[in-house]
């Protein structure tokens, strides 16, 4: 048994799970900053982005090091490759948190229609659910849960469309500007959820060695929805 190598791989997984947990926390803070118009909190989130860059880069460096020194094959190789991709997705998710925080900073002290605030709250709650399920799937190496992520993501997409309809109803210029920041944030939330699905795809590839599996599952889900 290559005990040291195995424990090194588990450390990489722990790091990725921790980052996912922190991302969920930061997303919640960003949405709160947006809803409450909290400029100070928004700035803190923006400043925190460098830390996520370092954390995800740390995962990538560790993966490269293990590939270079441990010559992984099969499941081990798929695991390391998946972790590197997932770290990259996480870096992008952190960027989208910054996008929401920037929108919060710009729309602070501006009147935002309550319907849009309610919509973003509803959408955010769905995204938190997808993020938490992604974290759990990663932590437990849970294939079934990974395959269920597209299903959880489905309502996020439909809520996102509703945003544009609401935006179209607005007439007041100033209200429209504040509302467009909300739409931008809704789009960022939707992208975060998409990266969670991508994470699930990578996890599924690691666990099964087959890429087609999740695509097939996705198709199933699509047919069901239709």
């Amino acid at each position: 048994m290559r005990e040291q190598f195995r424990s090194d791989m588990y450390e990489v997984q722990d790091d990725v799970v921790d980052i996912m947990r922190e991302l969920l926390n930061t997303t919640k803070l960003a949405v709160n900053a947006l809803i409450k118009g909290d400029e100070v909190l928004a700035q803190e989130i923006i400043d925190d982005d460098d830390r996520f860059d370092q954390l995800t880069l740390g995962v990538e460096d560790r993966v490269i090091e293990l590939i270079a020194t441990q010559f992984p094959v099969a499941r081990d190789l798929r695991f390391l490759q998946s972790m590197a991709f997932i770290a990259m997705y996480q870096e992008r998710m952190a960027d989208y948190c910054t996008t929401i925080a920037r929108a919060a900073r710009r729309s602070a002290n501006k009147e935002v229609p309550q319907t849009l605030v309610d919509l973003i709250k509803a959408q955010a709650n769905l995204v938190y659910r997808v993020m938490d399920a992604t974290r759990e799937a990663l932590e437990e190496r849970d294939l079934e849960l990974a395959l269920k992520l597209p299903e959880l993501d489905e309502p996020v997409d439909s809520l996102n469309k509703q945003f544009y309809r609401e935006l179209g109803r607005l007439t007041d210029e100033e209200e429209m500007e504040a509302a467009s920041k909300m739409v931008m944030s809704a789009r960022a939330l939707e992208r975060i959820a998409d990266y969670c699905i991508d994470t699930g795809e990578r996890l599924s590839y690691f666990l099964t060695g087959e890429r087609a599996l999740l695509e097939a599952a996705e198709q199933d889900i699509e047919t069901k929805v239709i």
Binding site: M1, R2, E3, Q4, F5, I64, E65, A68, T69, Q70, F71
Partner: protein
């Protein structure tokens, strides 16, 4: 002395305090007669770590390894220059007893070389020389050493069997147990896995990781993958021109050497472009 202008590249800076190192080597030279085999070798070997020496055949890595416990003293007409400190003390100073040094710095060779005695007596040999007489003490040392060498489970019921009657891989682990029984501070391994079966290789690599906190390990290996897998630090030796002395091209953390080596020759060697 040497006319070499060679500059070794280091991904981790050389220490200024010899006492933080296990080996503190500076400007080491080595001659077989008139032939200057190694020149300008400066290197730190850090404690509680595994250091691998890699390089093509004839690059001087085994010669250098044998300088570390004065095994080359046994070859007539050889000469050492420069500094080789073990935990701050010069191992080539006149007061040093080479036999005592080799107790502190154990060695494992490419071919397993157990004594033609029982497994038990092989392991008990060193402690007996050191004056351990009580049977129960010897029993403990034998069991503990065989456990640390990852061999206990396979031989606990056949301790009186001849050491030469077990497989090559088991013999090699028996030799490791024999060295560990005298509690060395350093373990030098010269191609320890090139003549044995893969399962034993795995067991040896595992035991290396397990004991490295207590015993500083230095391994010479032709198997680059093994160097990458097991070691914390790697040093790359090279003799570029036949007849010229070999040099230390690059030394540093294994993770650095195998992801982003500084010297192009290191990169060429580890990516299989020569050697």
């Amino acid at each position: 002395m040497s006319t070499s202008t060679h500059q070794t590249k280091y991904s981790t800076q050389l220490q200024t305090d010899p006492l933080v190192t296990t080996y503190y080597v500076r400007d080491l030279e080595f001659w077989y007669g008139d032939f200057n085999a190694l020149t300008n070798i400066s290197l730190d070997v850090m404690p509680s770590a595994i250091t691998a020496f890699i390089g093509p055949s004839g690059c001087g890595k085994s010669t250098f390894l044998r300088c570390m416990n004065r095994m080359n003293d046994l070859i007539p007409d050889t000469k050492v220059g420069g500094k080789m400190l073990l935990k701050g003390a010069d191992i080539y100073s006149s007061g040093v007893d080479p036999v005592d040094l080799r107790r502190r710095v154990g060695m494992i060779f490419q071919q397993p070389n157990p004594f033609p005695q029982s497994i038990y007596d092989n392991v008990a040999y060193g402690p007996r020389l050191q004056g351990v007489k009580k049977k129960s003490d010897l029993d403990d040392i034998v069991e503990d050493s065989l456990k640390r060498a990852n061999l206990w489970k396979e031989v606990s019921g056949i301790l009186d069997k001849n050491g030469l009657a077990i497989s090559g891989g088991q013999q090699q682990r028996l030799c490791i147990a024999r060295v560990l029984a005298v509690q060395p501070e350093v373990l030098l391994m010269d191609e320890p896995c090139s003549a044995i079966d893969p399962t034993s290789v795995q067991k040896i690599e595992d035991l290396m990781a397990e004991i490295k906190d207590e015993v500083t390990i230095i391994i010479v290996t032709h198997n680059m993958q093994q160097a990458a897998r097991v070691s914390d630090y790697t040093s790359f030796f090279l003799q570029e021109v036949a007849g010229e002395p070999a040099v230390l091209v690059e030394s540093g953390k294994t993770s650095d050497i195998f992801t982003a080596p500084i010297d192009k020759r290191t990169e060429d060697y580890i990516t299989g472009r020569f050697g």
